[in-house]
């Protein structure tokens, strides 16, 4: 096995390295674990010199550089609503290393931050070697395998209005472990009615997915226990969870509605 490491001087130069089989190393929590298993020879490229570790909050718009760590999110007072998400990912050492960019590529049951970013309807900025492109996160996730040949630069989203963002990660070992099911939801209300609800699930498919049937059940209704129970019945309708060391697919489907109700019910 031979591993080489270089630091990218510009994002636009990264895809050429990836095209030849090279891989970005961000926090390294997934990729170095792979290398330790005895992965093949690989050219690793870091984004350490590109200044991708910045967090910007301007006029209600949040932009997280791809190299921002979970620890940096959990320390940022402007991002209080995301603290429970960042703090649910690994222990403190994992959080100090794990990046937002890497989380977008984490296989299930990982990807808790990605579930939160999906419910925030984030936009991914990436460089394909020729130009910078912007993609809605849902499109990005659908093409994730292919886009691993591109360089994610940043992730932006509108900060949710106070009290509209909800998050729960169900684990078998407190305080932190890999997800059995992760639910992130933004439930805005206008004139007492739910408007543009977004619900995302982690660990319920190969990558984070939206629960559109449950969202539709909430739309235009008054938030209350009846309507939450109706939406809960649909929460796993589009899911295709896996059996793994943490839970069976059956168990994940059984408990997702229970935790959805607990998350939203007053």
């Amino acid at each position: 096995m031979s591993v080489t490491l270089s630091a990218a001087k510009q994002a636009r130069l990264v895809p050429a390295v990836q095209a030849k089989g090279g891989r970005i190393i961000a926090g390294g929590t997934l990729i170095v674990a792979d290398l330790n298993y005895g992965a093949d020879s690989v050219a690793l490229i870091t984004l350490d010199r590109l200044g991708f570790d910045k967090i910007a909050v301007k006029g209600g718009k949040v932009t997280l550089g791809a190299m921002v760590t979970m620890a940096a999110v959990a320390r940022d007072r402007r991002l209080k609503f995301l603290h429970p998400v960042a703090n649910s990912i690994g222990g403190p050492a994992v959080r100090a290393m794990a990046t937002i960019g890497g989380n977008l590529f984490a296989p299930a049951p990982y990807g808790d931050m990605t579930a939160a970013l999906l419910t925030l309807d984030a936009e991914i900025t990436l460089h394909d070697g020729k130009a910078t492109r912007k993609l809605p996160i849902e499109t990005f996730l659908a093409q994730r395998r292919k886009l691993q040949k591109h360089c994610v630069v940043s992730i932006s989203f509108a900060a949710p209005s106070a009290g509209t963002f909800h998050y729960v990660k169900v684990v078998r070992r407190k305080p932190v472990s890999a997800s059995v099911v992760t639910i992130a939801a933004v439930i805005p209300q206008k004139a007492g009615k739910i408007k543009d609800a977004r619900i995302a699930l982690g660990a319920m498919a190969a990558n984070a997915i939206r629960a559109r049937k449950a969202e539709a059940a909430l739309e235009g209704r008054k938030l209350g226990n009846d309507i939450i129970a109706t939406a809960a019945k649909l929460i796993a309708a589009e899911a295709s969870p896996a059996d793994d060391a943490y839970a069976t697919a059956w168990y994940r489907r059984e408990i997702a509605p229970v935790h959805f109700v607990r998350l939203l019910a007053a």
């Binding site: 591993v3 390294g28 929590t29 330790n36 690994g90 222990g91 403190p92 050492a93 305080p175 932190v176």
Partner: protein
């Protein structure tokens, strides 16, 4: 294997090393520098035995490439107290029987140090979170949590006296 030079601060001393490309900080510490305080457990990030402090934050040395430590400040268990002396956390672990086989102890102590450096007066829950990435097969965690709280208390006392 190609070797590359790395310069970093290790336990307050300048360190210049040639490391194999793609090798981890864990292997540099143990195999090249003979610092066996950092334990090698799972090599997958899950046990926390290899925890070190880099630039004030806990890091898993098994998932950190040695080359990426260029210019960084690395602290291992060996750097916690002068030779022959014990850090208050080490003393509290000893006094409170917080180590049985001792394999998890260096990682636990360094994870705890990162907490106490930031938060000298932690709650029990904050202690539990601080060591949540560190697995112990022996103690059942309770003596470890108690030792960290005791060390925190002891470390706060001199500061109070001065005030």
């Amino acid at each position: 294997m190609t070797k590359v030079p790395v310069e970093f601060t290790l336990n307050t001393r300048e360190q210049n090393e040639f490391v194999e490309t793609g090798s981890t900080l864990l292997s540099a510490l143990r195999d090249r520098l003979g610092l066996y305080g950092t334990k090698a457990g799972c090599h997958q990030g899950t046990c926390g035995a290899c925890t070190v402090i880099i630039d004030g934050e806990p890091h898993l040395s098994c998932l950190t490439l040695a080359e990426r430590c260029q210019g960084k400040d690395v602290t291992t268990l060996e750097g916690l107290a002068p030779a022959g002396a014990l850090h208050p956390l080490q003393q509290a672990f000893m006094d409170g029987f917080a180590a049985q086989c001792g394999f998890c102890t260096p990682g636990m102590i360094l994870a705890a140090k990162c907490l106490l450096d930031r938060n000298p007066d932690p709650t029990r829950d904050e202690v539990v979170d601080a060591i949540s990435g560190n697995i112990c097969r022996c103690t059942g965690y309770e003596p470890i949590i108690a030792a960290i709280l005791t060390a925190a208390q002891g470390m706060r006392k001199p500061a109070r006296k001065r005030a």
